[in-house]
């Protein structure tokens, strides 16, 4: 549950915070969220990763489709990646990696503050 919750919250943060701040502020935001929601390690990793990765993926697909621009293909060729679709994937993967490690960092930070061992049977 917490993992899904984190995924959704991360996506919301990316959608609303990212347009006004650089990506590294978003990473800090995800870490904070993840510490607050506090899923387990894998949940934090996947929640942050999927939240940011899928949002970046979705945003780039959305921009590519609504603009019908040739730029993704031109950029793909320029960067030696072939087509714009590859760039969509690369954007998603980079978003995932950045979000995932931010999420995991948040969980591990909360671990530090946790006095007693975490109840593994909850959430």
């Amino acid at each position: 549950m917490r993992f899904i919750f984190l995924t959704i919250l991360t996506a919301i943060v990316v959608v609303f915070l990212n347009p006004i701040t650089p990506f590294w502020v978003v990473m800090i935001g995800i870490a904070v969220l993840s510490a607050l929601v506090y899923p387990n390690g894998i949940g934090g990793f996947l929640g942050g990763g999927l939240g940011m990765g899928l949002t970046w993926l979705g945003q780039s697909i959305y921009l590519g489709i609504t603009s019908a621009s040739s730029l993704p293909d031109r950029m793909g060729e320029l960067m030696g990646l072939g087509s714009g679709m590859t760039l969509v994937a690369v954007t998603g993967i980079i978003g995932f990696i950045l979000g995932a490690f931010s999420g995991l960092t948040g969980v591990l930070f909360r671990d530090l503050l946790q006095k007693s061992p975490k109840n593994v049977y909850k959430g």
Binding site: N18, P19, P22, F23, W24, M27, A31, W56, Q59, S60, L63, G64, T66, S67, A68, S69, S70, L71, P72, D73, R74, M75, E77, L78, M79, L87, V90, T91, I94, I97, L98, F101, S102, L104, T105, L108, F109, D111, L112
Partner: protein, 803 residues
């Protein structure tokens, strides 16, 4: 353990964040580039998707309305000129900021700052030619002499800078994102620098090559191979023109001695072949509607973003429309409600070289007459991306900067030459365009031109009141015959320029009897013009084709003029091919390939249309033949070879001339030898081409490419554009050069105007307006360029109010 895993993961996270926000070699920082909210994905949006109804900009005296038509051409409606130019700066920066800045960085010799050490040699060269120095002198000149123009240039600058200060990361042009830098503030100096950049692009000299030629050939042979006037001279100003002024006397020194060293320096970079232009105007008596029609198509490197940006600029007193240069004020080639004007390059050896004799190694003084004059040292600090700043010291004499010296490209340490160039002298070209934009008649046009110095242009003119005119305007030195053709001795005061030709003596014509005026970079005048005229690069084909057509045409319509701009007739081939075929005789008649190609050539109508094969064959055959003729000639010190016109004339009239003899071959060779050798080379080249590419129709062979300003950004370029034409034809579209802007204006009661350029209004490669004019241009079609009123609601893409 908890601490360990936390700090480990934290470290990995921070390392990742740093890794993706830093450049790795030539790869830009990945996350800022790919972040869909800030990176290149934001540049996929076209301007209409980002349209704003209102934008706040400061220092306006009244709101300015900007109407973008369906082609994203802005029509600026302002209450006064200060507001107008502030808005022009703002709007131009919205669409072309990266290009404006990049071009001025190139002109200032600052490309290394952006791309690193690879551009250092280029930057040193640019600075040693003194372009930035020229712009500094120009700015000082305007500050001292023309505060009104300065105020307007500063308003434009303020407009650009307000855009830069409002610019979000998301909207930053994609080239900045890829090359990882940000725009710096614009300045009046940069606007002036841009006009110097145009001079550099358009002005060349061949003093070095001619010095070598003189040494190799001697004067008489030189004059035979490189005559000052061609046999069939069809100059810009009609040959019948009677010069109604008393020329200023120019004194040729009794004895002239030239520096006679063996010159092994590399020549300065020259305007690329294919740089040139056409313009003309026909009088009402030759047109169907009785109105003058004016046409202009400047030929330049074909680049994206295009050099040109279309605009209409309107105040309550005038409305002007046409092609602007991003970074410069006003319209450069265009029309208003009363007149139209256009430009072609009017090169006339504007650069000369003087040999400098330094007193000693310190180079603090140089010889001039009987004295030693002090030099100036200009320190050029060239910032280099990823490296230490490079310091270059350039010595300035009263002639100009010493371009090549012991620290720069010196094969010979004792040879130092100073470059004398009108670009280094204070001038105010910007004023010309500001005044021309609101000119009402021939007198206003002439007054505007009096401020114009460099690069010299043939300014064509037509007015609604029925006048047509042409004036060759630039700052032309007074020279004795032969002066400046070769390197000169800078220590000899007799070698100095003796002043400048007064504007009133510059060649000009108004309403000539023949009913048209025209220019195509040919000789400016007939031999009767009382001042010395010389340049190596005069055109010999486009001008004759153009004037022949204009002489025979009557009842001319705008459509006729459009067709003439798109005319693919190859006059050189029409004159040269029969000569080649005659000299070839029965050579290789047994080869089926040779027969096929010869038949294609013989049935060719000399039009270099995109689907023609004859043009491809002629292009290869003639090039190989000329190459064979001049191979030995070109072997050794840098020289230029006689032009194609002269070569064809030699082939035709004196095929047995000793010039055709190849010293390294036994026996005596004549023209036939080279024509056959050229034909054999063509067979080899065609065999290879047919095996590798197959299709050898002209468009596929010449592969017209409109290249992004950063040549490495291949995917931002448009390659293999299907279009005809080529060098020496009115449609001068070669593989990398051609008509960079085409305009036809009929000056009737309602002005009818048409224009197009190979690019698009947007400088953003992601925009749908980036290259949308290219297919229209390639087909010889046009966009309507009629003046718009503020009330007109047709074809509006969006409107923005600046206030």
């Amino acid at each position: 353990m908890k601490y360990f895993s936390f700090f480990l993961v934290l470290a990995i996270t921070i390392a990742l964040a740093m890794l993706v926000s830093r450049p790795i070699g030539q790869i830009p920082p990945l996350a800022p580039l790919l972040d869909p909210n800030h990176g290149f994905w934001q540049n996929t949006l076209s301007e209409d998707q980002l349209a704003e109804e209102e934008i706040n900009i400061e220092n306006l005296s009244a709101p300015v309305e900007v109407v973008f038509d369906k082609n994203l051409i802005p029509h600026i409606f302002a209450q006064n000129e200060l507001d107008l130019y502030r808005a022009q700066g703002y709007v131009t920066a919205q669409h072309r900021l990266w290009q404006m800045e990049f071009q001025t960085m190139a002109a200032a010799g600052r490309v290394s700052e952006i791309v690193g050490p690879i551009a250092l040699e280029l930057d040193r060269m640019t600075r040693r030619k003194g372009l930035a120095f020229g712009a500094e002198v120009g700015l000082k000149y305007i500050e001292e002499n023309d505060p009104e123009t300065l105020r307007l240039v500063e308003a434009y600058t303020d407009g650009v800078n307000q855009y830069i200060s409002q610019l979000s990361d998301a909207k930053l042009p994609v080239e900045y994102k890829i090359l990882n830098y940000r725009p710096e503030p614009w300045s009046a100096y940069k606007s002036l620098l841009l006009l110097k950049y145009m001079s550099d692009m358009l002005v060349g000299d061949r003093d070095l090559e001619y010095s070598n030629l003189r040494k190799l050939l001697g004067d008489s042979k030189l004059n035979k191979l490189f005559p000052d006037f061609p046999t069939e001279n069809d100059p810009v100003i009609e040959a019948e023109k009677v010069w109604d002024f008393t020329p200023i006397p120019v004194n040729k020194p009794d004895s002239v001695t030239y520096p006679d060293d063996a010159l092994l320096l590399d020549p300065l970079s020259q305007p690329v072949e294919g740089t040139g232009s056409n313009n003309w105007a026909v009088a009402g008596k030759k047109t169907q509607n009785g109105n003058p029609i004016l046409a202009n198509d400047p030929h330049l490197s074909l680049n994206l973003p295009s050099l040109w940006y279309s605009m209409q600029l309107t105040t309550p007193t005038y409305s002007v429309k046409g092609a602007t240069l991003p970074g410069a004020l006003g319209v450069i080639s265009g029309f208003n409600q009363d007149i139209a004007w256009g430009v072609t390059n009017a090169t006339k050896d504007a650069r000369d070289w003087y040999k400098i004799t330094f007193q000693d190694e310190s180079r603090k003084a140089y010889k001039f007459g009987d004295e030693w004059r002090a030099t100036d040292f200009r320190i050029e600090a060239i910032k280099v991306k990823g490296q230490d700043t490079f310091i270059d010291t350039v010595v300035y004499t009263h002639h100009g900067p010493v371009v090549y010296d012991k620290s720069f490209r010196s094969e010979r340490q004792d040879v130092n030459f100073a470059l004398k160039w009108t670009v280094h002298m204070g001038s105010n070209e910007q004023r010309t365009f500001i005044q021309m934009n609101k000119a009402k008649d021939y007198a206003d046009y002439n007054e505007a031109l009096d401020f114009y110095t460099s690069p010299a242009q043939n300014f064509v003119f037509a007015s609604k009141s029925g006048d047509i005119g042409m004036r060759i305007q630039g700052k032309f030195p007074l020279k004795w015959e032969g002066q400046g053709k070769f390197f000169m001795d800078g220590a000899d005061p007799k070698m100095e320029w003796q002043g400048f030709i007064p504007n009133a003596h510059n060649p000009a014509t108004l309403n000539p009897e023949r009913g048209f005026v025209s220019s195509a970079n040919q000789h400016p005048v007939d031999r009767s013009y009382p001042y010395y005229v010389f340049d190596n690069s005069y055109e010999h084909y486009r001008n004759r084709r153009l004037n022949r057509k204009l002489r025979e045409m009557n009842q001319i319509t705008v459509e006729d003029m459009k067709m003439l701009q798109f005319d693919d007739y190859n006059l050189q081939a029409a004159e040269g091919l029969p000569v080649l075929i005659k000299l070839l005789g029965t050579h290789k008649t047994e080869s089926p390939d040779a027969e096929k190609y010869l038949n294609e050539l013989k049935s060719w109508d000399y039009f270099a249309d995109p689907n023609q094969k004859g043009q491809t064959l002629y292009a290869i055959w003639s090039a190989e033949t000329f190459e064979s003729i001049w191979r030995e000639f070109m072997n050794g010190a840098p020289v230029v070879r006689p032009n194609s016109y002269q070569t064809v004339e030699l082939l035709n009239k004196s095929p047995k001339d000793s010039i055709f003899d190849v010293k390294s071959q036994e026996g005596i060779q004549t023209a036939e030898y080279h024509v056959k050798a050229g034909f054999d080379s063509m067979l080899v080249a065609m065999k290879k081409w047919e095996a590798e590419e197959g299709d050898y129709t002209w468009a596929n062979f010449k592969k017209t490419t409109i290249q992004h300003l950063v040549p490495n950004f291949k995917s931002f370029s448009a390659s293999n554009v299907y279009t005809g034409g080529g060098s020496g034809m009115l449609n001068a579209t070669g593989s990398r050069h051609g008509a960079s802007w085409r305009m036809v204006v009929e000056l009737g009661p309602e002005i009818q105007a048409f224009g197009v350029y190979p690019g698009g209004q947007s400088g953003n490669p992601g925009s749908r307006f980036y290259a949308n004019f290219i297919p229209i241009w390639a087909n010889g079609e046009y966009l309507s360029f009629n003046l718009r009123s503020i009330e007109n609601q047709e074809d509006v893409l969006f409107k923005t109010i600046l206030k």
